[in-house]
Symmetry: C2
Subunit: 238 residues, 2 copies
Amino acid sequence: MSSPDFEITPRNKVVRRPHRGKYDKATVYDILDAAMLCHIAYVIDGQPYCTPTAFWREGDTLYWHGSSASRMLRNHITGIPVCVTATHMDSILLARCGFNHSINYRSVMAYGTAKLIDDPQEKIEAMNNFIDRFFPGRTKLLREATEKELKATSFVMMEMEQASGKIRNERVHDDEEDYAIPAWTAELPLHTVLGPFAECPRQSPGVVQPAEMSAYQEGRRFDEVMRETYRQHYGAAE
Amino acid sequence: MSSPDFEITPRNKVVRRPHRGKYDKATVYDILDAAMLCHIAYVIDGQPYCTPTAFWREGDTLYWHGSSASRMLRNHITGIPVCVTATHMDSILLARCGFNHSINYRSVMAYGTAKLIDDPQEKIEAMNNFIDRFFPGRTKLLREATEKELKATSFVMMEMEQASGKIRNERVHDDEEDYAIPAWTAELPLHTVLGPFAECPRQSPGVVQPAEMSAYQEGRRFDEVMRETYRQHYGAAE
């Protein structure tokens, strides 16, 4: 049984607004598992790069993939320090002075060493989890990957050595003396939702959306779909 | 008149799927101006960090802000290399093998040196643009910032030395021999939209949403609101 919290070190300590810092794994996991997209910071010859990519979590390990030809992946081979960040923008807050304008958000910054997965069997398992974590039960419907496809794809894993979540979830507020200022103020929520599906025009006759993918429904919030499919694949305890 | 394209160098050249790389400024601007959130990669003592924050563009310069107490801002004072990335996830593409699953997206990676804005007048201008770029005409409704607020807030600018956009906008496709596989395939669009507004319970009597902020309407796509408010503030030619 691993620790319920991430260790707090100078690397992951939330410096600004420390009360918003979250180091318990349950909170960090929840923010990560509600996302498909992350941004990965890494350094090549002193130059920082920030690459967006799809990722997923298994225990305290984050995984992502890429083309074996990509700059990011070629430079991960020997193991390099990375920072993986996932962010949800939840709302915009207007106020009666510039200083009190703000954004409600949930984010995680996770630190570790990114390493290529070499072992062929581990690579196939990572590939299947990559599909099934987002689309439960899907790999059993698909054909297996070919040697050529496997060779062209690299998978990367990073154990989270440290991580911190940061959550801001406040209402519009102003300094008491400012409430008389007649500026319209409101919280403007932002939701990422699924739009109308465009089925493949060459769908096989009689093939419909499988029950295991029922989390995907037009109009649903994507962060909720991500949480639900995570639990379907990995279970609630992971 | 500056060049219509960003110079292509080893730093910003799109290595993987080079046909998706976009170096014309019109395309790069459009992706940036459709976003409020970016992720910024920077390095402190060899450790990469990836920080999410709100940003905006003016010409070839990107701006963002933060608390003067934050780790990111404290380390920007002397000018440090950064990579600023803005990403829009547009849809998820299912397919009949794992390899053909994909995501449609628009992203920009921009490179330069981040510097704190020292000049007090430039700082006030940056602060006003930060508000008015997102909420046209808003600063004239607000009280001015106090000395204390200005001191607590830092603004950063980064001239884009290089940048590249990357766009994937394809339909579901499979290898010809795979179309008979009876796996449900579809494109699942993702839209970030404005939810129902929560007005401040202490709204002054008679104060309503100003006409200049009419881009903000429940249900509208946020990337379109960002484009529209950008043009309202900076004009179409910027």
